[in-house]
Each structure stands twice: as C-alpha cells, then as structure tokens.
Symmetry: C2
Subunit: 217 residues, 2 copies
DNA sequence: ATATTTTTTTAGACTAGTCTAAACTTTTAT
DNA sequence: ATAAAAGTTTAGACTAGTCTAAAAAAATAT
C-alpha cells in the first residue's frame, strides 16, 4: 500500500520513463514534482524498499513490474474520473485535470469497477489518452503528429499532447477535440502553418499547435 | 484551509456536539476518532488557532460559526457522494460509507455544484439524512417513528435510524428505503407488528423494525 | 475535607515528508 | 589528464500527526 505522496512519485516516474522503458534521473523527478533533489533521493529509497522501483546511486531509477502495475492503476483511475467529469458532469476538458489528480487517489476497487461500467467501459479519456483496463492493458491507437501529415489527409484526432489550459480552450473553440474528424487542406511553406477542416469549417493553425495534435495514422 | 486530519476532527466535533449545541470532551473525541487523548489535545490547539473551535483547558471544545460552516460543507459533500454512489453507480446503501469518507475530502467547489445539479439537488441522502445546501442550510423534515402511527396513515419514509447492514439489506428487499411512499394498513395487537404497504405490496414488519423507521409526520 | 479516582494536559520521542547546506560522484571542458 | 561544472547524496533540521509515560487538574467517594 502506497501513501498519497508515494503514489504521486510513482506516477511521475512512470510518465517520465515513457511507461517504464527508460531510467529517470533525480533532477528530472525533482522538477516534475516541484520539489528538491534531496527530497527525491529520500523518497526513492522508500519506494525501492517497497519494490516498486529499482535504484542504483547516481544512476537514476527504473520502475519494476509491480510498480508499473500500480502506476497503471492510478492512471486508469485518473482517466476514468476525467471521463466522468466531462461526460456526465459537463466539465470542460481544461477544468478536469486538478480534480482528477485528487480523485485518482481514492481507494476502492469496487468504485472503479462500477464507474467503468457506468461510463460504458470507455477506451480513451476526453483528451484522447487511452484508459488502461482492469489488468493494466492499454489499447494502443496508432497515431502520428498532425504536422507530419500531407495535404489531402483525412482522419480523426486521437489526442492532444499538452495539458495547458489555454491550448485546450482554443482547440475546444475551433472544434479540435479528440474523436473529431479532421482534414488537412494545405500547408503554408514559409511558416509550416496548416489549413485544416473541422466540423465543415476551414481554420488555420500554427506549426506549434499542429505538433501537439495526434491524429489517426 | 484544513488538512484531511483536521477535517475529520472537525466533523467528529460537529456530530458529537449535536450540530454545535453542546461542548465535546477530549476523551469522547479520542474514542470517536480511535486515537489517544494526548493526540486530541494537540489537535484541539491547532484547530482553535484556526478559529474553527473555541477551547478552554479541561472544559472541552465548542465549535465556532466558522467551524460549523466548514463541518456542514464536509457533511454536504459526504451525503451528495453517498447519493451518487447509490443512485448512479448502484452501490447498496450499506457499502457507501467508507468510500464517501474518502470522497468528502476532495476540494473542488465546482465539482460539488455540478454533482448536486447532476443528482437533481437532492434534499436527503440514501439513508434519509438531510443534505445541507450550498449555504449550509438544512431542511428539517418533521418525522415520527412508524411504530407510533395509526392504521390508515399515509406518508413516506424519511430515514432509517440504524446502520446495521442486515437491516438495510432487508429493508432494501421489501422496498422500504427513504423517500418511498408508505401506508399503514393495520396493527396486530398481541405483538405490535404492522401490516404496511410499499410499492403496492402488502408486507408485515415486526415492532423492532417499525421503531427504526422514521416517516413524515 | 481530604483522599482516591478519573480526566486532561504536558513532555519527550517517533515516522513521513520536506528543506538547506555541505560533501561526494560523474560529466564536461580545457 | 586534470580542473571546473553539474548532478546526486548525506547530514541535520523542521512541521504535521501520532504515541507513551508522567504530571496536573477536576470529579467523586469516604
């Protein structure tokens, strides 16, 4: 059983390691958690005693199978709650993150099972991120950056790789939310801005924005 | 802003003082929170610095107006969540308490407003306890024990004064949950058992059960 | 009214989590 | 290859919350 703080460290390690594929450094973790390196070192020791990460001095941490399972369970809860907030309570998708950060720590397997069922066993959250199933399995939707696609491309938005509330609000306004059909009309050569079509409306987006949007490959 | 622990102390003080009407002693609080008197003394000092209780050594604590407002807000959250769990997620009413104990500490006024609206602004929770409104106002439903009513009585169930899971399950089976319409058909003289009608079905209940059920007066 | 019992508070210690400052490794630059 | 810089860990201290044991106050019994 992990404490709330331990859960947050584990989740950060999972994300920073790209799902457990690479080691995470002390300073990365400190920055990500808005804390100091010394605190991270202390916590790392605790987490490795609990066998959710393995740790070698000066070389960073790696998440264990056990740790990965626990991280996925937290992520599952986070994404189910976000889905609930947006679909049922009419939150906008830029408002849900902080609340889900709290709700993800509620301990009740029964609650999560029932919530999952209530929501109709969704496979992605409102941002398009996949929701791990009860066993931690993630269904991967193959995707590519919108900025990489060629004029004429038709598909739909898979996810938005940013949690900045300003960007989310902007995308919401132009209709650029996960699940939406999208067409790439043309690309402007001098600044790589894109002319796209959403909800039968043409709109121009900057290169920076096009690099945050993942679409079906 | 109160910590989770402080919130739990404050809630216990509110309940033990019957809504702020009487002082609460250190040992009562220690027993109710399954902790030691020494810990209670420490926490009492912190809470009185925060002006949610007033405290005089050796004389117990009294909740302040501020403290009462905060306690009511927590109770409101608890009861709204219980309502959600039972009405929407199909929890049975004997399973919800522990989960609601966790959910009541989520900090998000917007969440609670939206949840309240989603549930249709309920005035009582699944156990029949009143849900304080946004301003902490409680609508008191005048009620009486079912065992005191006369044959011919028509009204509805206000609350069930027991948290025994066996009784709750039994009442759930016969349709005797808070909010339900109920008629008193007849009373058996020799054992005070009652013939009642619930969901257009006649059923007989014992005296003991009839003393646990509160109905509209 | 005084002694005994009960209740409450204080004192001091412990764990979880955090911090600053100093020490120690590793990496990078010359 | 060695010095400087960057990154990491240790040492020691602090807050929140808890505990045990002892002291102090209040209530009760004789």
């Amino acid at each position: 059983m992990l404490s709330l703080t331990e859960e947050n460290y584990l989740k950060a390690i999972y994300h920073l390691s790209d799902g457990g594929t690479k080691a995470v450094l002390t300073n990365e973790l400190a920055e990500s958690l808005a804390t100091k390196a010394a605190s991270v070192t202390d916590m790392i020791k605790k987490l490795s005693v609990k066998n959710v990460i393995s740790y070698e001095k000066y070389y960073g941490v790696k998440i264990t199978r056990q740790g990965k399972a626990q991280a996925l369970s937290i992520i599952r809860k986070h994404r189910l709650w976000e889905t609930f907030l947006v679909q049922q309570l009419n939150f906008s998708w830029d408002e849900v993150h902080e609340v889900a950060e709290q709700l993800e720590h509620i301990q009740s397997p029964l609650l999560i099972e029932k919530l999952d069922e209530f929501l109709g066993f969704p496979s992605v959250d409102p941002h398009g991120e996949p929701i791990p199933d009860k066993n931690g399995k993630i269904k991967i939707q193959s995707s590519a950056m919108l900025s990489e696609m060629l004029p004429g491309y038709k598909g739909s938005i898979v996810a938005v790789k940013d949690s900045d509330s300003g960007l989310l609000k902007y995308l919401d306004k132009i209709g650029g939310t996960p699940g939406k059909k999208i067409k790439l009309i043309s690309k402007e050569e001098y600044d790589d801005s894109l002319e796209i079509e959403l909800d039968n409306m043409k709109v121009s987006i900057s290169k920076i924005v096009s690099q945050k949007i993942l679409v079906t490959a």
